[in-house]
């Protein structure tokens, strides 16, 4: 048990840190939150910079164009980038962290050659079309259907919660190809060009006022069969295979960011006098413990993942993922509630620091598995309690 960098890790960290310090000051300022074309350009430029420095696809396998690094190396990248204030992965998220790895694992050689390099170079942006209005927590209930028509599928239905849909080139789509098969069966995974006729994107305004998400309406969209990754009706497994790439690093950068925010909150409280309030002070102290421990939990989970990866085991999401997600979602909300307490009445001003974060934090106990579902998973899959028949 140790928390120290190996000499190789220290060397990697050192070189990375130097590069970040050289590179970040040369980046243009972040564009306005709702200027999506500018955000796309900004995020892609950052990905291009990573690519040129040899950091693109750090954790992707070498044969997919990546660097073949393990989870620990990936964690160092996330940690250092966040500490240095580097841009968030942004528009690159789905391509680099979901669609890309899926294609790398399940795609044909031709599919890999077509789709992976543009992701790594920051040239093509992907979005995700999994969720549907009627299939929220219950993803297996999705209804968008694809009917085979010669060398194509004709896809009709609608998707929701699709980030970056308005600027994406491709959409990884989960559709029902066998309407008679029950639930998880009968689904297929398709790569859909977002400029195909019949695709309509409607931005979805969140309660934070942002247009981060969109609804995507599909009206007989023609998608070549060659865009299907994996076998027909095997889409559930294909889409889940990427979860095995989740090697404990999800939200790792965010935890680093939360720890920095907490420090800023304490200094802001000191500056505005809120620090005099012992209740608030102890609340911030408790959050310090919380995020310190969450960071340790990340390190523990990534250490496990590194071990599995080195052993060549197909990493299955372990104890760590759900446990971490459940607690982190809650802690993040607590953090921004404490921020509102530090701000006092200024928390009612939407332009203040932390106000938008307070609002967007509300999604954390809902998105990517509600806290209720996470608790079911922990109880049944980890603790082995009998099934509550909730699915």
């Amino acid at each position: 048990m140790n928390l120290d960098d190996t000499p190789e890790e220290a060397d990697f960290r050192h070189r990375l840190r130097s590069w970040l310090h050289r590179t970040l000051p040369t980046l243009p300022p972040a564009p306005a939150a709702d200027d999506w074309p500018a955000r796309r350009a900004h995020d892609c430029a950052w990905q291009r910079a990573l690519y040129e420095a040899g950091y693109a696809g750090l954790h992707w396998p070498c044969e997919a164009g990546g660097q073949g690094a393990g989870p620990l190396r990936h964690l160092i990248l996330l940690e250092e980038a966040e500490q240095a204030g580097a841009p968030y992965v942004g528009a690159g998220f789905v391509g680099l962290l979901h669609a890309g790895p899926t294609i790398a694992a399940e795609g044909t050689a031709a599919q890999r050659a077509r789709w992976l390099p543009p992701i790594l170079r920051g040239e093509e942006v992907w979005c995700q079309g999994f969720s549907e209005p009627e299939a929220g927590s219950d993803l297996a209930a999705l209804r968008t259907r694809a009917v085979r028509d010669g060398d194509s599928y004709l896809v009709t239905g609608s998707k929701i919660w699709t980030s970056h849909a308005q600027i994406a080139d491709w959409c990884e789509l989960l559709v029902r190809t066998d309407p008679s098969a029950p639930r998880h069966r009968g689904l297929s995974w398709l790569a859909m060009p977002m400029n195909a006729p019949g695709v309509t994107v409607r931005p979805l305004r969140t309660l934070a006022g942002s247009t981060e998400f969109a609804e995507v309406f599909l009206d007989e969209v023609r998608i070549p069969v060659s865009c299907r990754v994996g076998a027909e009706n095997d889409g559930w497994r294909v889409s889940m295979v990427t979860l095995s790439f989740e090697r404990g690093t999800a939200f790792a950068g965010e935890v680093v960011a939360c720890r920095r925010t907490l420090g800023r909150l304490a200094r802001a409280a000191q500056a505005n006098g809120a620090w005099e309030d012992a209740v608030l002070r102890r609340r911030l102290g408790r959050l310090h413990a919380e995020f310190t421990a969450l960071w340790r939990l990340v390190q523990a989970n990534v250490s496990e993942a590194e071990h599995s990866w080195r052993s060549g085991e197909s990493a299955v999401p372990g104890v760590g993922g759900s446990v971490f997600k459940l607690r982190y979602s809650h802690a993040r909300q607590e953090l921004y509630e404490a921020a509102a307490e530090v701000l006092g009445p200024l928390a009612l001003d939407a332009r203040r620091n932390w106000t938008a974060d307070r609002l967007s934090a509300l999604a954390y106990t809902i998105a990517a598995g509600t806290s209720q579902i996470q608790q079911n998973i922990i109880a049944e899959r980890i603790l082995g309690l009998p099934s509550g028949r909730w699915r």
């Binding site: 102290g285 919380e290 523990a300 603790l383």
Partner: protein
């Protein structure tokens, strides 16, 4: 970095569990619960000494295993799991400082401020961590201290039936004690806090296990109660508390840095107390009886939460850290003094 237990550490843990189960099986626990006012089990204490619980971190030439705080934490986690009685932390800290502590032939208790002292009537020495240098009150003076205590501090009314307490209204003056110049109280305090947190972690893990085991077999309304979401979610939160505390306690054992230690104590206290509470809730009326072990975990958890760094102290210290350190202990600059530093056992000769 590899924040997993090594093969040796895993083995140490499983062997320790086996050993503690043999030395202190449930029947012995229940005997000790009923043995109010009876003699402290010195035979068990010597066996724990033989097992290396106290000498673990001494150099081999002093009869120790030359292991470090992370290994001690694994042993103390198992001790908390088994609800081992006695002033384990204090005697472990006294090994190398007080003759006989390492071997378990001497029982040492400790305090850092006025308040409750555990096993004071049994102890052969009292370790005082109330200043920069530890000091020691030997057995002879101890009986004088006990004689001077008001009646109301009689030991038999500790809330924890397995831990007799005396409430010390003030600490003995310096002229009655012997300073231990070679040791730093601040370091001993950090270690005591981590080792106490480790016991809390062990207790939290055990009450989680008890709750899950019960939820699998107890049926109500025609189903095991573990099939009800309400019970499932109680158990899930117990696991989350335990695993978060585990990460914090293990990290604190590696770094021994004040913020890591404070986080470990705060989260382990909370895990132990709240898991015991939830375990009781899952057990329903059956958990409310004296015969069930749930209350022993709860009461010991309350007791340990009041030792060393309380929640109020930990939160306050952590808040101050936020201002003190611009980057709040950036993970990548952490060094590992106890894991790497070979000078510590030498300090204790």
């Amino acid at each position: 970095m590899d924040f997993r237990l090594t093969e040796d550490q895993r083995l140490l843990r499983s062997e320790t569990r086996r050993l503690f189960t043999a030395l202190f099986p449930r029947e012995r626990l229940r005997q000790s619960v009923e043995a109010v006012g009876e003699d402290f089990d010195r035979a068990l204490w010597r066996k724990l000494g033989d097992a290396g619980l106290f000498s673990l971190r001494l150099p081999e030439r002093d009869g120790g295993a030359a292991l470090a705080l992370p290994e001690a934490v694994l042993l103390f986690e198992e001790a908390g799991r088994a609800l081992l009685p006695g002033p384990l932390t204090a005697t472990h800290l006294a090994a190398g400082l007080v003759p006989g502590a390492a071997e378990g032939t001497c029982v040492v208790t400790a305090v850092d401020r006025p308040g409750p002292a555990e096993h004071l009537a049994t102890a052969d020495a009292l370790l005082l961590l109330d200043g920069p240098r530890p000091r020691l009150l030997p057995a002879a003076q101890l009986s004088g201290l006990l004689g001077a205590l008001p009646d109301s501090t009689d030991s038999t009314d500790s809330i924890d039936p397995t831990t007799p307490l005396h409430l010390l209204p003030r600490l003995p003056p310096p002229d009655t004690t012997r300073p231990i110049p070679e040791a730093a109280a601040s370091r001993l305090l950090l270690e005591a806090t981590v080792l106490t947190a480790a016991q809390q972690l062990g207790s939290a893990g055990r009450t989680l296990e008890m709750a899950v085991d019960h939820a699998k077999v107890r049926t109500q309304f025609g189903r095991p109660i573990g099939a009800f979401q309400a019970v499932q979610h109680l158990c899930a939160q117990m696991l989350v508390r335990t695993e978060l505390a585990r990460a914090a306690v293990y990290a604190a054992s590696l770094t021994a840095l004040p913020p890591d230690v404070a986080a470990a104590k705060l989260l382990a206290d909370e895990a132990a107390v709240r898991n015991a509470r939830d375990c009781l809730q899952v057990h329903g009326g059956l958990g409310f009886t004296w015969e069930a072990d749930v209350h022993l975990h709860l009461k010991r958890a309350w007791l340990r939460a009041a030792q060393w760094q309380t929640a109020a102290r930990a939160e306050t210290a952590l808040a101050e850290e936020l201002l003190a350190d611009r980057r709040s202990v950036p993970p990548q600059t952490i060094v590992n003094p106890l894991g790497r530093n070979p000078e510590r056992p030498a300090n204790r000769q």
